[in-house]
């Protein structure tokens, strides 16, 4: 039927081809690791027992008598093997959509497919660094009820310094630590420092004016959606762990001529927690 004035189908429509409504997921944890290539499926390293050697019972290091045998102690190592893991995702786009859609679905799909792999890798790195939220080898600071960072009795500076102390006690350099925070904890820190404006006038003013924290007690603060709201992780960057990379993040386009275009992204690697004592998980940060 022919259209007349006032009918919907005659009304003009302008399509903005710039894609909106999203923000890119970026690697947040990977930059804190040493990236090292590998061509082996299984990757092994030896982790040295970090504690100072124990002196034998009744045969102390101090006070060896004249002519007596020396006390004996041995260093120990733990063999740790991890297999690389393959991260990937793909989608097929109909050829007709590639040619005729309002927006560049092929380029956008390629971008977002790669982004999903990025997130998968980054989530896994955090999971390994934090030992899944249950510290065994890494250091741990547990914030008790009532002292959470978003509460009235928060002791954020002390909690972060405690983490620094734990790392420092293991002889790691603590001058350039990185703290990974959730967005909620970042908010708590800004509120906390703004509230302490009288004690830290410069920081307090910066908090109130700009609302961001780049560095606190010597730690670089990195905010990530991959950090659970009640955790923060303090690490010695580039020392704490290694990303063994068998295949860097790449995207491939597979064309089925005149039928479909497949976009595939892949990355292969594994996180090795080489120095667990260079990591401290602060848990219970948020109520």
């Amino acid at each position: 039927m022919a259209e007349q004035i006032g009918q919907l189908s005659l009304r003009a429509e302008v399509i903005d081809k710039t894609i909106k409504g999203f923000a890119t997921q970026q690697y947040k944890f990977k930059p804190a690791l040493t990236v090292s290539s590998t061509n082996g499926w299984t990757n092994t390293f030896y982790r040295e027992t970090p504690s100072v050697l124990t002196e034998p019972l009744g045969n102390a290091v101090k006070g060896i008598p004249r002519g007596a045998n020396f006390p004996q102690a041995s260093v120990s190592w733990t063999k740790i093997s991890k297999d690389v893991e393959k991260y990937g995702i793909e989608d097929s786009i109909f050829w007709e959509d590639v040619l005729t859609d309002n927006i560049d679905v092929q380029a956008r799909t390629m971008f977002r497919i790669a982004e999903r792999v990025t997130k998968g890798v980054d989530d896994e790195i955090y999971n390994v660094l934090s030992e899944g939220g249950t510290p065994v080898n890494i250091g741990s600071v547990i914030i008790g009820a009532g002292s959470q960072w978003n509460g009235a009795n928060a002791g954020i500076i002390d909690d972060l310094m405690y983490a620094k102390e734990i790392i420092g006690l293991q002889n790691y350099d603590t001058t350039n630590l990185t703290a990974f925070l959730s967005l909620k904890d970042h908010r708590s820190i800004v509120n906390y420092l703004a509230g302490k404006g009288a004690q830290f006038p410069t920081i307090g003013e910066n908090m109130a004016t700009n609302g961001n924290v780049g560095k606190l007690v010597g730690m670089n603060l990195v905010v990530s959606n991959s950090v659970p709201a009640n955790q923060a992780l303090v690490v010695v960057p580039n020392i704490c762990a290694t990303w063994r990379e068998a295949y860097p993040l790449s995207t491939e386009t597979i064309i089925d001529p005149m039928k479909s275009v497949k976009i595939r992204a892949c990355e292969i690697g594994v996180t090795q927690l080489t120095d667990p004592r260079a990591v401290v998980l602060i848990s219970g940060t948020a109520a």
Binding site: E90, S92, F94, I254, D256, K259, S260, K262
Partner: protein, 137 residues
């Protein structure tokens, strides 16, 4: 679309879900992710809107079909469906009248043999849960 069927994995050549072309009622609009059924003659298919018990399944609609004469359905793969009632992993499943909802074809531990089985459950789920179905048509 409520209860839209979404792909988990597509099988077939080039992992394209082995699409099969059917004629559709050109006066109707069908949405991608709708479970479609074979009806009438000439490879005609209809959507699962109401009262389709017993009809054989054609597949999952691969693209929106509005005003088109033909559309293709994915026939091989693993897809996410919505369960009606408890379904045990491994149960053969059939569609019920409600759009894109599936039920088990097993009653009291025995295969019932009702027509329309188009795949089997990949995991055990409760009523209204989303779960994977291996579609094999």
């Amino acid at each position: 679309m409520a209860n839209e069927v979404t792909k988990i994995e597509l099988f077939g050549a080039n992992n394209d879900g082995q699409p099969v072309r059917y004629a559709v009622n050109s006066g109707s609009s069908y949405t991608k992710g709708t479970l479609m059924f074979i009806s009438g003659t000439g490879r005609l298919m209809i959507s699962s809107d109401g009262g389709v018990n017993g009809l054989p399944v054609a597949g999952v609609l691969a693209a929106d079909a509005s005003g088109a004469s033909y559309a293709s359905v994915w026939t091989q793969g693993v897809f996410e469906f919505t369960a009606s009632g408890a379904i045990v992993g491994g149960d053969p499943v059939i569609a019920i009248g409600s759009k894109n909802i599936v039920v088990t074809n097993v009653v009291a531990g025995s295969y019932v043999g009702r027509p329309g089985t188009f795949g089997y459950a990949m995991n055990t789920v409760a009523d209204t849960e989303r779960f994977g179905v291996r579609v094999n048509l």
